[in-house]
Symmetry: D2
Subunit: 341 residues, 4 copies
């Protein structure tokens, strides 16, 4: 089969032939990929940012945002059948460790993360497990929803954690209205009655944000912190969801957070540098966020199938993977780029 393989850091991946995976373990599932999302993390992988953390051996197939159809199942699989349409939680987990038993999928002690630390979904077929499969209505087109498998779940998970803080009368800043941010806005609209203030340096992203339900938009032209303080009587926001967290956005995001408020870090790339006295004298919390749980994705699919979360996607054939990566890197993608093998 064809797959998008990274052979060397700081060089482009190549599209090449590799053997198809097989379902050999009792809970293995091989999925024929219908849509594989292209993510800023793929660029960061190529740039070697994840090399040490993932420990992956090159070459390998990237792609950690996948949906498709069940192609082959192991003998113990009872929850999906060959032919089922599925979206995949990013990490096939063990189901047996303390974290799994608490529903905390991302902290499974024995999980793999296809596309990060083993072969991923920018390919015709992907090996995963029954625990990663969420069965969808037969009519769902995998390429239409694949972006929910990573961008979507990540934005939703952060919003879900923030919900108890976002009672009516509060303000939530969405810092960055790109692939994740625009799902974050819609999730906030669905789950809360908070006032949503969206900050971005791209005026077109702000226009989309308004259409998706932002109450206020702020152009990140250098005075964005002051603008947010002005909108909040000088206090800042109860919650700031920082989908950027690089190039100083992470410092701005903290500065936009109110006394007693919470700064959710979802993007990455920059360093947070905070005097402890600033943390303690205002009692703010900084919350790291990593993808989400299987049930988060189930819930997000409910919102998606009810039309409450919609995606802007641009599709590319698998052979055009490098074009998709280049378009993303150059800021030419509105919403999410999806490979359709």
């Amino acid at each position: 089969m064809k797959a998008v393989r990274l052979h060397e850091y700081h060089r482009q991946p190549v599209v090449e032939q590799v053997p198809e995976p097989r379902a050999t373990g009792p809970f293995d599932v091989v999925v024929k990929i219908g849509g594989a999302g292209v993510c800023r993390t793929d660029l960061h992988i190529i740039e070697q940012q994840w090399a040490e953390k993932s420990g992956v051996r090159l070459p390998y197939t990237i792609g950690h945002e996948n949906a498709g159809w069940v192609h082959e199942i192991g003998p113990g699989v009872s929850t999906v059948e060959v032919g089922d349409t599925v979206i995949l939680h990013p990490t096939p987990t063990c189901g047996l460790c303390h974290a799994c038993r608490a529903g905390d999928d991302m902290h499974c002690e024995n999980s793999a993360f296809p596309g990060i630390d083993c072969d991923g979904g920018m390919a015709e077929y992907l090996l995963t497990s029954a625990r990663a499969c969420i069965k969808l209505d037969r009519g769902t087109e995998p390429a239409d929803v694949a972006a929910l498998a990573d961008a979507g779940i990540t934005a939703y998970h952060a919003v879900r954690k923030a919900v108890p803080l976002l009672y009516p009368g509060t303000v939530c800043v969405v810092n960055g209205a790109g692939g994740l941010g625009h799902i974050g806005i819609q999730s906030l609209r669905a789950l809360t009655a908070t006032t949503v203030v969206v900050v971005d340096r791209n005026p077109e992203a702000l226009k989309l944000a308004e259409q998706l339900g932002a109450d206020e938009t702020v152009l990140a032209d250098g005075a964005q912190v002051e603008a947010v303080l002005d909108l909040t009587a000088g206090h800042g926001a109860e919650v700031v969801l920082d989908f950027v967290a690089e190039q100083g956005a992470q410092q701005d995001a903290f500065a936009m957070t109110r006394r007693g408020g919470s700064h959710f870090v979802i993007g990455y790339g920059g360093n947070l540098d905070i005097p402890a006295i600033d943390l303690i004298s205002t009692e703010r919390t900084v919350v790291g966020n990593l993808v989400g749980t299987y049930n988060d994705l189930v819930e997000l699919m409910v919102l998606a199938q009810a039309g409450r979360v919609t995606l802007h996607t641009r599709k590319y054939p698998l052979d055009a993977a490098l074009d998709a990566l280049a378009d993303l890197d150059a800021g030419r993608v509105r919403g999410r780029a999806i490979l359709t093998p």
Copy 2:
């Protein structure tokens, strides 16, 4: 009356005569001070660390950790009477803003903070309000419990926030076993069944920690992060309570925190510098902590009166305030120094 007054930053306060405060407002309470704690924050005030944040005008009376006897009450006060023994919550709050109505005293929009932004308790009398007074058994000696009014409540508040994370089988690191830390250890013992690991660079502090119920102690000799990782099968602790947060301890504290874990910042002085990728790839949370609520102090007094939290104090007459400050600065105080006007 006599009071310990700061006239100029970076110079020692002076003990001098000032007029006694009077209870003029309906909820005013004047307290005859029985014990006024001496805190590292007093040193930081003198060093001008709080000048901008507090906006206080010099000269003023320091001392933000107080207990004593009710001396005079305003006409609307019904909860305490002249002669009652009281410990004082540090901030007389308004009781009417959103934060107060949610029980979130430290984020009152209209509170004063005697000893920080107005005249404090290193004096014969202190002006506060009915909302700050917690009535104690008549037999309680104010000087014996005053340290609970700031050091105690601050440590207890952080532990209280951490309790839901500290189920049996977890590990909690107490970073720093000084004035706050030793109350933190006892609060953890009273409220959880977690394994308590105490880190300090002072072997005598570690001995005291063991007596107070620490399960493990680690000498902070440069290899303390590795030692904590060794004690936790390489994972780190579910919760790290950092009572130091300066001179690099804050970075160690983050490094000791497990995937999905929480790093509580209670001390201050240093800067936290964390790559966003480290926060998100492990989904850790950094929690700022500021003193505590009125009810926190009520609860802590329950533990104290049951003998489950005990204090090590050293008493000085008010005239010896400068000696107490000097002893604290030089590391010559075990437990807490208390002025007894």
Copy 3:
């Protein structure tokens, strides 16, 4: 002034002249009533259901759902001024007991409940306290929002407690779409993405429910439990909000609740009779609900002023109070009857 006074249980109240109240205590506030809601609880008071619980001495003025304009303030009041438009939390609380300090207004140990245990708001003026006043925009008409002061806050409070249980994919049954229920439906729509199923025996109430955003409606014609089970694949609902709780509705509500689900009791009049084995073998929870907190009402006013919660009211002059009570008793009121003194 004129007031609606109950002189004897099981007899109609009378509209008669009484002295105006005065603001004598430091935090007293006298409000000129602009709107006083008429509630089923007023009927229950007349029927003597509350006599033992409230311990009120007759005669007294009823009316526990009030809004108006500040008429006179005590010397310690700083948060409202004469002339301000206000809606009133039902219970002027002490602000000093453990419950108040935790934001738990309804469990204040020293509160009064005007209209229940002392003179209420079916009068030209009402004596309350600064702690009960929520200042509104000058343009707000008290009679338009008064129903939020008791019916509204009660429905909202129950919804607010249920929010953490109502993630996407869940079902919430609203049992009874009358005065409280129709605010409950709108609050659910604003705060959650749950599927809302409304049950009522009145087809017109169900029509209104649909307009307010109900996903499904069920006519309570005797087969309502089966209908809810059918809509939920035989499982029942994660949450049932029972705004009726009399004449068997309370038993139905429990029967509509799923394994692990929660049955919120908001109405009253009937007895709950549940075998303990049914509670434990399914691990259901039964949640009593009483009005709500001051902050609940603040939040609800945010929703109301954003147009997300709207009220259906019918206004009566104070002199027509008995007509209003009779109309309510006979089921002739759509939404809420409001007296406008």
Copy 4:
């Protein structure tokens, strides 16, 4: 092998020969039983109380509280090996439904409950799954800990749910100090600093309760509700854990619960009959409780292995199963009866 089999309701089970179970599915585990607890629920099964709820077909083997050694494993099992000492969570769950994915084992949509709805552990061998096994230190004697597998986890689970309500200064009533209650007392001591008041009609059970850390004991001689009210300044307890819930104890337990408090129902047999007005005017909550999660049992084993929860057991050979049931029924068992096949 030998097994204790129920052939007919309202008649004693018989000890007879049946075929040994085999591990045929990928995650099957056959455990050689070292200890099988005898529970009041076994009596209730014989009395036909569970017949309709469980739908079990007779004859079958009872026993739902088991520990032993792994005897045979299916091909997909990686977490335990033959020879491992294990304690068993009562329900082998699917690991794939929404409840399992949320860590909510007792509400698995596809679980079995050996000893309730299929063959249980009063036998030489038991068929369960890898998901039910908790590996213990090799030196642990299964018969010494078996009682934690059902009585223990059930008491612990209720306490764990109550912990957030039980801050210092609160009171928790333990109603019934038998097999479950005495574990409840110890769990409260380990996890909270609440004041523990134990109610029982047996003076010897109260003596044991005192040794285990009860702060107060109350003899249930008819005046137990008044006694609890007297101990709580007339308010009642923030939490009542009712381990009895039959013969009127369930009504007493509700009456002992404070305004805003929670009544946890753990035992069963009686009916709760509560006027809705009593629930709502005091805003109390009634909480059903069913066994506990896998992680609850893991946590409880941590407490047990640290010596913080100890058990009183009396051992019987498997052949003496009927004696054990008779002794339990007659109130002749202190702590828990354990069969040792």
